[in-house]
Amino acid sequence: MDGSYSPGRSAQLLAWSTALYLVLPILIILPVSLTDQRFLSLPQESLSLRHFATVLGSPEWLHSIWQSFIIAVASTILSVVVGTLCAIGCWRISSRATELIRALMLLPLIIPSIVYAIGLYRYFGPLDLLDRFLGVVIAHGVTGVPYVVITVSTALAAFDPRLEQAARGMGASLSQTLRWVILPRIAPGIFSGGIFAFIHSWDELVMVLFIASRDVFTLPRRIWDGINENVDPAIAAVAMILILFTLLLLLLDQFMRRRRET
């Protein structure tokens, strides 16, 4: 910021080392994915894209990427619909009970996913949802709800309640008010929540390990198996693809926010 005091040396050092600490483990993947060797290692003689070629030429990897994508899309739709309706409902009624409901909605974030996964395993067995596309979508969709509830609630907190009064005073029914006034105003919040829910499903592993085995084989699951079975650098290449895709989504989110603000 112009005109403000610049931070001291030690504060700058602390800030930079924190940033490095956060991104180094991710950055190390980049050279590894470009290695010219046949095992997980840093490049020896030259950089090579051969592992990216392997991944993109392998039907198994492509199938997993596609399956992960479809599951993420479907579970994001589920999270967005449920989370948005819940947030709007709580906002409109706004009582002590709705505060409790909103807190309950955050449970999937708070409970360790391994505990959640064991629970799902117990219930999905009798329901015949194990190793099913629908089962994974439900699991990811439900655990993605908190992200949407949080972002939509935040957007609603900034929503001027007089706009709703104005709409209703001019004769708009509840559903007209929702469609034409409330939803357009909180769309950026819904969009952000959707992106987080998508990323959540896109890189979720623990639940998939429990509730899927053969038919449903998502990308994080295949990476996991790849690491366990051999140390093929293709995994680093996949990880890079995963990171780039996630980064793309976050940049998209930033872009949408900025567009809303100007």
């Binding site: 104005a166 709409a167 005073g169 708009a172």
Partner: protein, 363 residues
């Protein structure tokens, strides 16, 4: 816009409580067809709560609201067909000016062609036709206010409700928009109910003012009548400025009552002072007091001295000390020789026997 006659509204014994707090205390008020009524009061007086009850956003605990004789107390806001201009305007930020104005028509399912025509007429009415495609945030405060007016009038509402419509604007713009609002009221011939805490706005806009305090209706009537005949100390003090003099009835002569304050005798028209009264509280407007020239007389004459004075451009505001009465504010015209205005200088003040009005002490 069609020339439908305005509608009449009756408020009967309206009471609204929030827990132990009574926001509105059995207020009854009749608003006539085509009238411009202002609910005036300080913050917390219940004026906005009454407006919100009329709009349908607040359900009263007791009492009823009738539109042309039909009870609408329990009707939800979207079925009342009232136009409303909110404090801060509440324009939809994601819609253009034209879309904002078209909104009430859209919810009524009008065709696009019918909508466009009415929107154009409404924007013409507030002289904003060339701004139709702008977003609200690209407009000035005054322009936004006019968009809100167009939006509230475009669907031929039965009533127009205005919640502090001018409070967000600076003083000069406020005066301009007061004029516009007044002429708009004349042109559309509809019933307007306005809420404000600004007494100047109330005086200049309204056919009739209802003054509220602590949730109660204190007095209502035409602006000039209220200003000249305040019923209570609160009304006299809130609507314009006033001096208050507590006096004892000394004796009665033909048409006058002679009052005594300390050693001073005051002459007051006997009207409005009942025979049995012993003490009176008088409200005396600063502009009804004259600075007397040497030799000039008046029905009431008092000796005083200047405690302080200030120049206002259009005149002088003087605080004069009266022995036995206290400090009194006097407005003197600018043509007064102001060399004589020195702190501590002796002056003579005079006023007519009908200048002061007896008022009740507030309950």
């Amino acid at each position: 816009m069609s020339e439908a006659a305005g509608h009449a509204l009756q408020i009967r014994g309206l009471t609204k409580r929030y827990g132990d707090f009574t926001a509105v205390d059995s207020v009854s008020l009749d608003i006539e067809r085509g009238e411009f009524l202002t609910l005036l009061g300080p913050s917390g007086s219940g004026k906005t709560t009454i407006l919100m009850a009329v709009a349908g956003f607040v359900l009263p605990n007791e009492g009823s609201i009738l539109l042309d004789g039909n009870d609408i107390t329990a009707l939800p806001p979207e079925r009342r067909n009232f136009g409303m201009v909110f404090q801060g305007y509440a324009l939809f930020p994601h819609m253009s000016v034209a879309e904002n104005v078209a909104f009430p028509l859209r919810v009524r399912g009008l065709s696009r062609a019918a909508r466009d025509e009415k929107v154009r007429a409404a924007l013409d009415l507030v002289q904003l036709s060339s701004f139709a495609e702008r977003l609200p945030r690209q407009l000035s405060g005054g322009q936004q206010q006019r968009v809100a007016l167009a939006r509230a009038l475009v669907f031929d509402p039965a009533l127009l409700l205005l919640d502090e419509p001018l409070s967000a604007l600076d003083k000069k713009l406020r005066a301009e928009l007061q004029e516009e609002l007044k002429s708009l009221h004349r042109r559309v011939g509809r019933t307007f109910i306005n809420v404000t805490h600004d007494q100047e706005e109330a005086l200049s806009l309204s056919d009739r003012i209802a003054i509220l305090n602590h949730g109660r209706l204190i007095q209502n009537g035409p602006a000039a009548f209220l200003y000249e005949n305040p019923r209570t100390r609160f009304v006299a003090d809130f609507l314009g400025k006033s001096n208050f003099i507590q006096a004892n009835v000394s004796r009665r002569e033909d048409h006058h009552v002679i009052l005594r304050v300390g050693d001073t005798e005051l002459r007051q028209h006997a009207m409005a002072i009942p025979g049995s009264t012993e003490t009176v509280l008088l409200s005396l407007r600063p502009e009804r007091i004259r600075l007397l020239k040497p030799g000039e007389g008046a029905e009431n004459e008092v000796e005083a001295h200047i405690r302080s004075w200030s120049y206002l451009g259009s005149g002088f505001s003087i605080v004069a000390g009266l022995p036995g009465i206290g400090d009194i504010r006097v407005n003197a015209p600018a043509n007064h020789a102001h060399e004589a205005l020195r702190d501590g200088a002796p002056i003579r003040l005079g006023w007519d026997a009908d200048a002061a009005k007896p008022v009740q002490e507030d309950a």
